[in-house]
Symmetry: C2
Subunit: 507 residues, 2 copies
Amino acid sequence: MHKDRRDFIQKVTAAALVGSVAPNVLADQSLAPVDIQTWRNSMKNRGEQEEEILILGAGISGLCAAYELAKQGVKYKILEARSRPGGRNETIRHGSVIEEFDRTSICDFSADRNLYFNVGPARISTQHKRVLSYCNEFSIPLEPLINDNRNTYFSFSPSHSLKSREVYASQRGLIASTLAKAIDQNLTSHLIPNNQNQHMLEMLKSFGELDDNFNFTSSTRAGVAQDSGTFTPEQGIEPTHFEELLQYIDKWKNRIHFEQSLHQQSVMLQPKGGMDKIVKGFTSRLPGNIRYNSKVLAIKRSTDGAEVTYENKHGRIKTITAEKVIVTLPLTVLQDIEHDFSNEISQEIQQAQYSSAGKIAFQSKRFWETNEQIFGGISWLDTDNAQIWYPSAKFGSDLGILVGGYIFGGPAGDRFAQLSEYQRISDAISQMSLVHPNTSDHVYAPVSRSWKNTPYSKGGWSSRPPIEAFSHCDGPYVFSGDHTTYLSGWQEGAIASAHRALELLDL
Amino acid sequence: MHKDRRDFIQKVTAAALVGSVAPNVLADQSLAPVDIQTWRNSMKNRGEQEEEILILGAGISGLCAAYELAKQGVKYKILEARSRPGGRNETIRHGSVIEEFDRTSICDFSADRNLYFNVGPARISTQHKRVLSYCNEFSIPLEPLINDNRNTYFSFSPSHSLKSREVYASQRGLIASTLAKAIDQNLTSHLIPNNQNQHMLEMLKSFGELDDNFNFTSSTRAGVAQDSGTFTPEQGIEPTHFEELLQYIDKWKNRIHFEQSLHQQSVMLQPKGGMDKIVKGFTSRLPGNIRYNSKVLAIKRSTDGAEVTYENKHGRIKTITAEKVIVTLPLTVLQDIEHDFSNEISQEIQQAQYSSAGKIAFQSKRFWETNEQIFGGISWLDTDNAQIWYPSAKFGSDLGILVGGYIFGGPAGDRFAQLSEYQRISDAISQMSLVHPNTSDHVYAPVSRSWKNTPYSKGGWSSRPPIEAFSHCDGPYVFSGDHTTYLSGWQEGAIASAHRALELLDL
């Protein structure tokens, strides 16, 4: 910028602020300040020490702990059972090998960096400042991940699907119409403050798209009559009356207000090119101290700390000692490992309950964009496979990866875990066909993963709140991972717990 | 894909479809089928003819008409008063010259293709199939344009701004709480069908985040108490009680349900790199028959059609004759041109009312992303400048273009048109500072446009519904442009009207 332009702005700014009303924006209580550098500076500098920290697990929590230890100049080693880092942060591409307990498959997507499948975490909440801080520190470009799109479908039964926009519009219509009539009939004056009946009625007409008699009969939000709206006035359709859907409330009550929540949002974020850019952000900055294919067998206390026994990639049994051990392994995985953790921790490991989440995806021509104007977002199915995800990026390109099923867990997830690959594919195509009848003409190159059926994960995320014992050291052990926080299933929890682990170690 | 994999899918698909429930998705009435190739094929092939069509105006409508005439092998010429095509579809970048009636400025953005400002249309609705079809035909990559982001601000007065998420959550809370209490007190049983009181109550608790007594007292949707939600259970904040905002209803009633509409959506689309990619899509495929800097002075009937007088770039007065003329010029611009249109058209031109829309933008470090986790979306101000738009792309990059004001029209737009450049900048910084107190530390390189104060536009879009006379030829004249449709202000209207113009010409 030319200096004179800069001067101009500064003069203008000074002028603008003279007499401007004092800002009175409420502090956003929801956003605890999380600045990684500030946190880092708050940690004691440990200086040169011989002590070495052992980290079990190279998922996001373990990698973050390692990265921060490296920043502090503390030595560390990581044992990781898989041949890759990231844990559940896994992005599948052309040639990726997908191993489960009873099967191994190879991803058949075309070799194209835009064709990938985030089979684990796939969205970042804008509230998750720790994750965002690391993306910023690692210069990882982020792009929108569309969570809420009214062009998608919402199913109430296998034979009853509506466009999402019709569902949302008609729910608002029913609520607004019922309340407006009650107000109009003077039934609620004791419930409306300051006799604001007229304001409420005016608001409700707009909120629910009501007519002058407070009926919800025609809705342009739900859709417009064919050929109207361009050369003739826009004419709303007669939408589904939501009261007819009330009987199915158990089927939709947990889905329909989804995008209102703080962690789910109508638009979220994703790293361009795959969620594992975050994994690479850490590993590319770590000096190669991760021992892959190293399966922990036993963890026990020793005189100076702890001794961990593991099987290395050659099948040999090894032991490693460390003064402190950061245990990031999922509780379900710890069930199979001999240990001498405290009673509280041991008991929690025994009682662990993990979601049986899974996903299946296909490569396909983007028929959802060209034929149905669906650009990103989710269709909600009333079947085991629960959700279809449409890609949020590279709109208009020829091919895309369609997540044909995102099974959260529960009995559906347990079933998914046990299905043959053939049956997973068959079921997914069948269920997608309920809203996209010609699915089978388009999709190919299927790839699936059940996290419950995946070694070294044995589940999606912990369904139980974290126990208090995770917030203390247990002798030489400190526990980390999203399951030790209330952000179970979120990378933000994994990172927060890694920071806490380092605080607890009091280096 | 290997043949055996393809065979596998086909077998699986066949198996999947046996016994699958017949699809019963409602036809989406809102989406009239608009396939450009189908439309094109429906047009009579005119073959070789001497006749030449004259198009007045190289905005989207004129360019689309020219492109389709060229496809039909019909000769055409375009007269365009500006030195560039596109009309209101204008993307401003480093070095762009912005001319208004009383000023000329040069855009001082850094020379970077990611730093651009769509000063005219800036979003494409997924409902606008004609625009999408051309983007597809021209291989224009599209990306999300975020319209609704709960991390932005919503202002009720200069001293009263809230986070959008608090506004939306508390409105739902008030509506749900009032209705739920009325239902619980048995006041509305005549209004609730089939005695579904319990289902309604269950729905409303979730819809409005109510407690067991149907009160809206604590909301995690509005935000969470600082430091809660990670190592302690998430604790909602006590949100603003929306009933206190009812008194300001005139200030928010037209904004708060904005993203529910069919043309506005929580996520829309934009061409990567600027809206003028659509203009370039047309012009790069037109064989150079656009006469720029050609200002129409008079349009009159002649024996064989019409004669158009214009001033060329050298200031010389020229005439051009044509059997048919497609008139795409804004009605406000036609007010200054001598013509012999029908009485109905002439009268409409006299009565034309156009919005005085305008925008102002600044280059800036992306403080809204790094400091406030605002990734795209709009803040709504209760001041003349009405909206702040945050960039929807290139998240995490250093610089972005912040639309510091989008003035829709009305008295605010009239004021904006008359302000000096200095005052526009000063006002924008002052108004942005109401929600971003440190705005002046960051923003520079301002650029603004008032469409009302812009030659050859003289307004943003027509505020009146199109008259019936636009749907017929008027002797040698046929009228086109978004103002001749109910999609005024949308490129979709410009394209639809171009198609209609060609149908009316009956070539």
